[in-house]
Symmetry: C2
Subunit: 366 residues, 2 copies
């Protein structure tokens, strides 16, 4: 179940804006060791939150349920898994929070933040939990961007970094996808310039954004495999504009569940943080950024991930190598493309397990 | 400039519905030979219409301007290029037409039609123009679906078929993309169940649909090349939700020009026709369909076209081969993916020219 911690000390953001205080939601699975050296920090991707695993508590599965638990990739018999929300995600300070000065919800007046800002906030919590050094920081996509920022900013606090389906900067294509989704959210009149907390929820815009994203994250191959051209509750074409195909009914389901996924403003801000992610821009050059890293680094990419292609992850490895930081890059196959780290752990599971064995052999044989 | 022809004899559609009469827009570039045997029929793709080339007339470039003209791929010194609109496209009967019985615009009461229906209508015009046999039918995507239906239904009337970026059936992914775009059009309250011809034009829905489609037809590679992470009229991040990047400004431009592209209802119907395209479904099996073909067939696909992948075009060739119809399949490289046949003719141009030489040598040396 999510815990929460409030931080009264102001947080200065990359933009120069200051959050007077902030709150983070987090969950912990497994026991921390007496030496406090077995903590794996899990960073979530775009539409997720700190509920990475249910761990038999509420009955609502976490987004990385398959990966976290006794005997799983992140084995809670051995590791203590800490999942912290990012600013703007459920339970964390973001545009849905009440601005203390005005007593009103921020809405679109909330300052735009970066992935580095998200990680700065998390660092406070990690300190508060008296964890000096994280065994591992791991995440995919926006989570991988966070893992990189962790390793760059607090090299002494990160022993291993596992960065999945993440490139050195958001590509023009990713910026475009997030622009489209933002446009759809904001096109809903109920969005009301971000001030919808006292008025009807802008569900249409959120639905449109989440549905429009499906053909971008679900590969053509997965759609063929899951749906093909199967009809939905009918034998033949209706010769109408209504739903005929299973895949159309699936999109209807995505639309129907949109309201449970994320706050529309939260999604707007998290997409913006991810669009702004560009290590070369933030640190002057990619080398300038990566030469800070002392963690052992595992990069994972998927051949079928056309949006975050292995060739761009390769650039990350080359840049690491150029500044003397060694890393492992595993290029995996999965029909799930960019969604592989969420939906198909058959490839990355053994790779991560091996990486842990290589990275910390003495602990495995303790 | 577009010409128009009205057909008074009813057209029975695949659905069983009957169009009491219909109109088609078309353009002709070049001169028809005395033997009337040099006509190349060009079929347009989804958001296009019969204005394939301007040919120095109105000043508005056609969608295949690069391909059609003296000395071009479809050389108007030699060939007579005929471009016919599909039902639902500009100038052709479709949901924007007036229903003769009620005197009202059809709107969403227009019968849903198939690609075969579109081609049935075109066949009437070709007959009216006293063309017994087309030298070539050519098209990409929805245009390629039309070229296949032409070759299947009137083998005696098609000497060569050039089918670009077209698979034997619309994939689940394509059905999903069209469902998303339809959803966005119909989500606009101004769409008004298709009855908007007397009320404000549903521009927001159309804008949303066309913008949401951009990251699906413009490849990540092209976006990197055209825009990268370049800022739009600024030096650094604005730390706002406004437009910061060139690629975002480009999407704004797509939105701004949406109203000129196509009638929203027309787009809905053309997408539906394309989603319904499935040769095996229509003819019982793919073999049953293709064994009708006597035309010489050139298939063109692009390695970077993840939505209409070469492997699926390969299936088409295999199926042709299985029923004794020989075809040529050229798998080309272009950074433009599914848009290559519109934006990068460097690959397909020489292939088509060679195909013509092989296909009709006696005419070339006449």
């Amino acid at each position: 179940m999510p815990k929460s911690r409030t931080f009264a000390e102001p947080l200065t953001l990359d933009s120069g804006a200051v959050l007077p205080s902030f709150e983070l939601a987090y969950e912990i699975y497994g026991e921390i060791s007496p030496e406090r050296d077995n903590v794996i920090l899990v960073c979530h991707s775009l539409t997720k939150d700190c509920h990475a695993a249910d761990y038999g508590q509420s009955g609502v599965k976490g987004w990385w349920e398959q990966a976290i638990g006794p005997g799983r990739i992140f084995d809670t018999n051995r590791y203590c898994v800490l999942s912290i929300g990012g600013l703007g995600s459920r339970g964390c300070t973001g545009p849905a929070s009440v601005e203390s000065l005005s007593g009103r919800r921020y809405g679109a007046r909330f300052p735009v933040y970066t992935v580095r800002d998200m990680v700065r906030a998390q660092k406070r919590l990690v300190e508060e939990l008296q964890i000096e050094r994280l065994h591992t920081v791991v995440g995919g996509c926006l989570g991988g961007q966070q893992a990189l920022e962790w390793a760059i900013n607090w090299p002494g606090a990160v022993e291993n970094a596992i960065v999945i389906s993440t490139t050195p900067a958001a590509s023009a294509h990713t910026v475009a996808v997030f622009n489209v989704m933002s446009r759809l959210i904001r096109d809903d009149p109920a969005w009301n310039h971000g001030d919808y907390y006292e008025s009807p929820f802008p569900i249409r815009g959120l639905r449109n954004a989440l549905v429009a994203a499906v053909p971008l994250w679900m590969s053509s191959e997965v759609m063929d495999w899951r749906f093909g051209r199967r009809m939905h509750n009918r034998e033949d074409y209706s010769y109408s504009l209504d739903i005929d195909f299973e895949v159309e009914a699936f999109l209807d389901g995505v639309a129907a569940r949109a309201g449970e996924v994320i706050d529309p403003n939260g999604l707007l801000y998290l997409m913006r943080a991810s669009s702004y992610f560009d290590l070369a821009h933030t640190y002057g050059s990619l080398g300038e950024a990566l030469r800070q890293v002392t963690a052992r680094v595992l990069l994972i990419s998927y051949e079928s991930d056309w949006r975050y292609p292995p060739a761009q992850v390769e650039e990350l490895q080359m840049a690491f190598r150029a500044c003397g930081v060694s890393s492992i890059h595993s290029r995996l196959h999965s029909r799930f493309g960019h969604g592989a780290f969420l939906h198909d752990l058959s490839g990355c599971g053994p790779i991560i397990t091996d990486f842990f064995k290589v990275a910390v052999p003495e602990k495995l044989h303790a």
